[in-house]
Symmetry: C2
Subunit: 402 residues, 2 copies
């Protein structure tokens, strides 16, 4: 990493100029750094004369979250770049095009998606994405199936496990999702009005046991190459298009962790409708849309994963009678458990979501937070009894009717 | 690997001379190659004047089993050497002392254990090893606990997973243990009188499902650094001492795979007592000894693993109420399932055991083989219902009384 240094805007332009695929003609380029500066620099480079553009994303050697700063390996840029390229091959059209990776400078040059909107913001603004379930289920089914022992030569898969060992980023997940929310950690960020709810969770032994088992799966179960951070802030959308970005948390882990992330973030928006919907009828409508999307995400994911398995199952044993059903049920349960863990931590852990935090009225926010906590804890505690995605829908409905 | 070549005896002596710790004085050394030539060269080097000795073990770039030969990575010598050194630190006195590793020559220079006997042969000759359960449970508890996320920093453990990626040797296990025995594979070696029993297993769908689930654990569950081939041919014993050798199959996998290997090989000898005991009373006595040893191995392993966990559990979450009990029960069930798979494959798979194959009388051998198959299939099919090690004892007793 001897050549590594954070780029200036001028340097970012020099790199962009070399990408003939994006800028075949020589007109002037303009650069603006649009990252939040917490983990990465993000340079948005445009060519005003042609309307062409691209993104240069460079990893910083530290993470800043809510004022705290800790060192973070630049190797995550290599992992992100390699994961993006692999995902682009496995799920064409569902990730940004990668023009160039530079591991020494810890950067990736990629397609500009500013014609899309970040899904979290889109949902808050009342957006509907009729193709989303179709696209995200396709992304997950294909990237997860073809990197797993079901769809990938088992010996090559072992080498892939080795090249996606990602200790620094996994550590963030292990602390923020599976540890801090379950005791009075200084990393938590708890609104005073929520303190009693957090304290109840800190006392809930049955909940802690399920979290320990889920964490063990995150630590040990190398099922497939995960995106690793598949929330609605990592997904760009338009009504017609879906693009998954930012796989810097990629590593070999339990498939349910990715599926659960999508479900959890739809549920967080579901809770946030307490504010974002204008009236009771609109709220009901938005929530039905979100529950329908959750149902579709799982149902389509399951159908696609099974279809890939039936067509591309790599060996005799993958076709063992009853095995696929057994596997898919475990996967559903894992997805539900991880969805719960991802919902809880967003309410009073270190890192929140604007679906909830941007609700201006404290009492409305409090209601939304408690709906999310109720859904999250229930999903965690009951994940091993779930038999279908209706389990999630029923828990979500109960939480708003309570 | 440019310098790699199979050593001559003279070259092995030159290497041995440099080990001052083993040969502090300069008297003449004598060398004899004692390996079976299938996977490794094993040079036994002695100093007749002093009675001192050591072993030089060198990996060959291929494997030969029953006439077949396939290429095999020399990297396994690095893995074996590193695993031996780590096991020696974690479980002092229970593995041979390592004097030197040379990854380029794919060799390890280590303590000579020829005052010990290979346990498989010892058991066949009627040996009793009163310290064995104590020692092997200590070896397993310490090496497995301290390489797992329970007793080892989780980020360092991820790097260890990466450095013990072992595709070639895992492939042997995946084929020979989890695949070939369950269909009419050309790799199987089936005595004609056993054909009907093998065919029954090939039809047993409920059995195949459990095998698929066990294989998935072998493929995905990076719980701890396993020995990976912990049968009684990898264990040197005397009545006072136990030394575990040959960890070339080491990789991060499910803990029950090691525990199950020990149990399976005691059960194979249990089945073989059909011949090795001289009469009914001696047979009963030997079998009670073996069942008592199985019970002790599990009970001591469980107690030691729990004690390490209570004393050295690395974090708050490892102390979650109820988690240890839940984990140990899963571990028992995994051990039982893997024990079954390891018993079955030794009866008509590619590689057998002399506890069974050296029975001269075909009808006695047939009885022993069917006892082993009955135990093995029963363990596989019922592993997920087991509640204690008595489950194994009961199945073994039923198989000889049937």
């Amino acid at each position: 990493m001897s050549n590594y240094h954070p780029l200036t805007e001028a340097e970012a332009i020099e790199i962009a100029k070399t990408i003939k695929e994006a800028f075949p003609t020589g007109e002037e380029l303009v650069c603006r750094e649009i990252g939040d500066g917490n983990l990465n620099l993000v340079f948005h480079i445009t060519q005003p004369a042609t309307g062409r553009s691209l993104i240069v994303k460079q990893a910083l050697p530290y993470a800043k979250v809510v004022g705290e700063s800790w060192p973070l390996s630049l190797d995550r840029a290599r992992i992100e770049g390699e994961a993006l390229i692999l995902q682009g091959k496995l799920a064409p059209g569902l990730v940004p095009k990668v023009y160039k990776n530079d591991n020494e400078l810890a950067l990736t040059v990629m397609e500009d998606l500013s014609d899309h909107v970040i899904m979290r913001r889109g949902l808050i603004e009342g957006g509907r994405y009729p193709r989303f379930a179709e696209h995200i289920s396709e992304f997950m089914a294909r990237t997860l199936f073809f990197t797993s022992d079901l769809g990938f030569n088992q010996q090559e898969k072992k080498r892939a496990v080795g090249s996606f060992i990602n200790p620094d980023l996994c550590k963030i997940t292990e602390d923020l999702i599976f540890d801090d929310p379950y005791y009075d950690s200084p990393n938590n960020s708890i609104e005073p009005h929520l303190r009693d709810a957090a304290e109840a969770i800190w006392q809930d032994k049955a909940l802690h046991l399920e979290v320990a088992v889920l964490r063990e799966k995150f630590l040990t179960q190398a099922q497939a190459l995960l995106h690793g951070d598949l929330h609605t802030g990592s997904i760009f959308v338009t009504p017609e298009s879906t693009k998954v970005i930012d796989p810097e948390f990629a590593y070999y882990g339990p498939i349910g962790f990715d599926v659960g992330a999508v479900i959890a973030n739809l549920l967080l928006n579901f809770a946030g409708q307490e504010h974002w919907s204008q009236d009771e009828a609109a709220r009901k409508d938005s929530r039905e849309y979100l529950l329908g999307t959750i149902r579709d995400v799982w149902t389509l994911f399951e159908a696609k994963f099974r279809a890939l398995w039936n067509e591309h199952g790599i060996d005799r044993i993958s076709r063992t009678q009853g095995y696929q059903d057994e596997y898919m049920l475990r996967l559903l349960r894992d997805s539900i458990g991880f969805a719960g863990a991802k919902a809880v931590r967003r309410i009073y852990g270190l890192s929140h979501v604007i679906d909830i935090d941007n609700i201006p009225d404290a009492s409305v926010r409090n209601r939304a937070q408690r709906i999310a906590l109720s859904i999250g804890t229930e999903l965690i505690k009951t994940n091993r009894q779930a038999e279908s995605i209706e389990h999630v829908v029923a828990i979500a409905r109960r939480a708003v009717n309570a």
